[in-house]
């Protein structure tokens, strides 16, 4: 059954110009789902707005 992951996948590969043939789709969708599940658990940690992201940059 289609769900929001399928909608997101279709919209974003179209936006970015990536072609996903049917035989790759299940695997790509699986990886997207795993990432979504992980990102949701990371998002459960309440962080202050002031928390500095840790991406590296030095002026």
């Amino acid at each position: 059954m289609r769900d929001e992951l399928d909608d997101w996948l279709d919209a974003n590969i179209a936006l970015l110009g990536i072609t996903v043939p049917p035989e790759w789709r299940q695997s790509v969708r699986l990886h997207l789902r795993v990432t979504r599940d992980m990102a949701q658990r990371v998002a459960e940690v309440p962080l202050p707005d002031e928390t500095e992201p840790a991406a590296v940059f030095r002026a």
Binding site: V34, M38, L47, P53, A54
Partner: protein, 456 residues
């Protein structure tokens, strides 16, 4: 004549410096051994024989005089394609200069003998590669080396070179070091120059080294560390060399084992390795790295998103030229919402602050390097904590929460009788590679840590 295949880098350098051996004979013997063993191990993708012989003829001097080494093929070698395990990169121009770390090892007298196989674009924990074939584990050639620095570990464990370079974003040095039973050093994030290496995840990429002894690892590290104007991330720090102080061992250091997350899902071999190391060091306390599971997940999110973005144009134009196992993960990564990545980077700061507090109480932490011994090549799933999981993304569960915040780690082989090798992570506070290496050296001196010689 010495058997250079199983000699330490230190012993080779001492023989060459004293005139007891010539660099030319070391290189000839090394190249013969690569010719004989590489068809089985598939560790090398290119052997730079002419370059090595020419360099040996100059009779190099230094702490690594005449020592053969090789590098993961994402590290630039003048005149070669920097493949990063891909087919696609063969269409880029060849490298016009050696990477900083290659130049520094050669300045210390070492001699480059080739480029090493790896998982495509480093997005891999297996050492498998659909273009060039899998690198093979010298202890059982039907088993994985681990990845992505699979060729590096295979070459060192198989006695082809005493020192190899690799990269570690989420565990790509520590996992293959564990599976192949050798020592691996993933230094502090920003310690070793990444200049002249093909990137994977800019936020998490580290370069490091493999060896069959702690001393060799320290000698190579000392030769490579230091600021580099070619790498904006490389730290402006010069610390004293580590090799001369290794003999101090673990005396006076406070060491703990990682509990909780780092014991859940670990197989019996992994737990036995950590417990053997802890016992030998007299470790009696456990510490908890709170939220390690989420740290690993945040590392996963950042990795897939940055890697997907890095390869976006190639995914648009020629997705069929990727290794399929890598391609599908990169496509998923390319469409990750930005908010997930930003949250993961904020969480990284939060987690770092909490973990660093542990280092007020202890100097180093022991943890498993891998949950299991090397699986057979081709295996797709494994059982972790009672659950069937995809193998490829999950071998790094114990390495990811550590590299996520850039802590220095030595992966130490702790062999058990009649079993495949497995390793332990010795984790130290940022910029304290010396602490992790001293503990590794201590374990080696006690006979607990050792790179076993595989059958041939």
């Amino acid at each position: 004549m010495m058997d250079y295949g199983w000699s330490s880098a230190g012993a080779i350098a001492a023989a060459v410096e004293s005139g007891a051996a010539g660099a030319g004979e070391v290189i000839d013997q090394t190249l013969q051994r690569i010719d004989r063993r590489n068809p089985v191990l598939n560790a090398f993708t290119t052997v730079t024989a002419d370059r090595a012989r020419a360099r040996a003829a100059t009779e190099p001097r230094g702490p690594l005089a005449g020592v053969p080494f090789a590098v993961k093929n994402l590290i630039d070698i003048t005149g070669l394609w920097t493949l990063a395990g891909s087919k696609i990169n063969r269409e880029r121009p060849p490298a016009i200069a050696d990477a900083t770390l290659v130049a520094r090892l050669e300045a210390a007298g070492a001699i480059l003998v080739g480029a090493l196989n790896m998982g495509e674009f480093a997005y891999d924990f297996t050492g498998e590669n659909s273009h060039y074939g899998p690198s093979r584990n010298p202890h059982d050639t039907t088993r994985m080396t681990g990845g992505s620095s699979g060729g590096s570990a295979s070459a060192v464990a198989g006695g082809l070179v005493p020192i190899a370079l690799g990269s570690d974003t989420n565990g790509s040095i520590r996992v293959p070091a564990s599976f192949c039973g050798i020592f691996g050093l993933k230094p502090t994030f920003g310690r070793l120059s990444r200049a002249g290496s093909f990137p994977f995840v800019a936020s998490l990429d580290h370069l490091g080294a493999f060896a069959r002894s702690t001393m060799d690892l320290a000698i190579a590290y000392d030769a490579m560390s230091g600021p580099d104007p070619l790498d904006p991330i490389c730290a402006d720090r010069i610390d004293p060399p580590i090799a001369p102080g290794l003999h101090r061992g673990a005396g006076g250091l406070r060491i703990a084992s990682a509990g909780g997350y780092f014991r859940i899902g670990a197989g019996p071999e992994a737990l036995a390795a950590v417990d053997n190391a802890a016992r030998a060091l007299g470790v009696s306390r456990d510490v908890e790295l709170a939220e390690a599971a989420r740290a690993r997940e945040a590392a996963y999110v950042i990795t897939t998103a940055e890697a997907g973005a890095l390869h976006l144009q190639r995914l648009r134009r020629r997705a069929r030229d990727f290794d399929p196992d890598v391609r599908d993960r990169l496509i998923a990564g390319a469409i990750v919402p930005a908010a997930w990545v930003v949250q993961a980077q904020k969480f990284r700061r939060w987690y770092r602050e909490r973990v660093l507090r542990l280092f007020d109480e202890v100097d180093a932490i022991l943890a498993p390097a891998t949950p299991c011994i090397a699986p057979p090549i081709g295996q797709r799933t494994f059982v972790l904590d009672g659950q069937a999981m995809l193998l490829r993304p999950n071998i790094g569960i114990y390495t990811q929460p550590i590299s996520f915040i850039g802590l220095p780690v030595v992966a130490v082989p702790v062999p058990q009788a009649d079993a495949m090798p497995i390793g332990v992570q010795v984790i130290a506070a940022p910029w304290h590679e010396d602490v992790a290496l001293r503990i590794a050296y201590d374990l080696e001196a006690r006979g607990v840590a050792r790179a076993p010689r595989p059958p041939e």
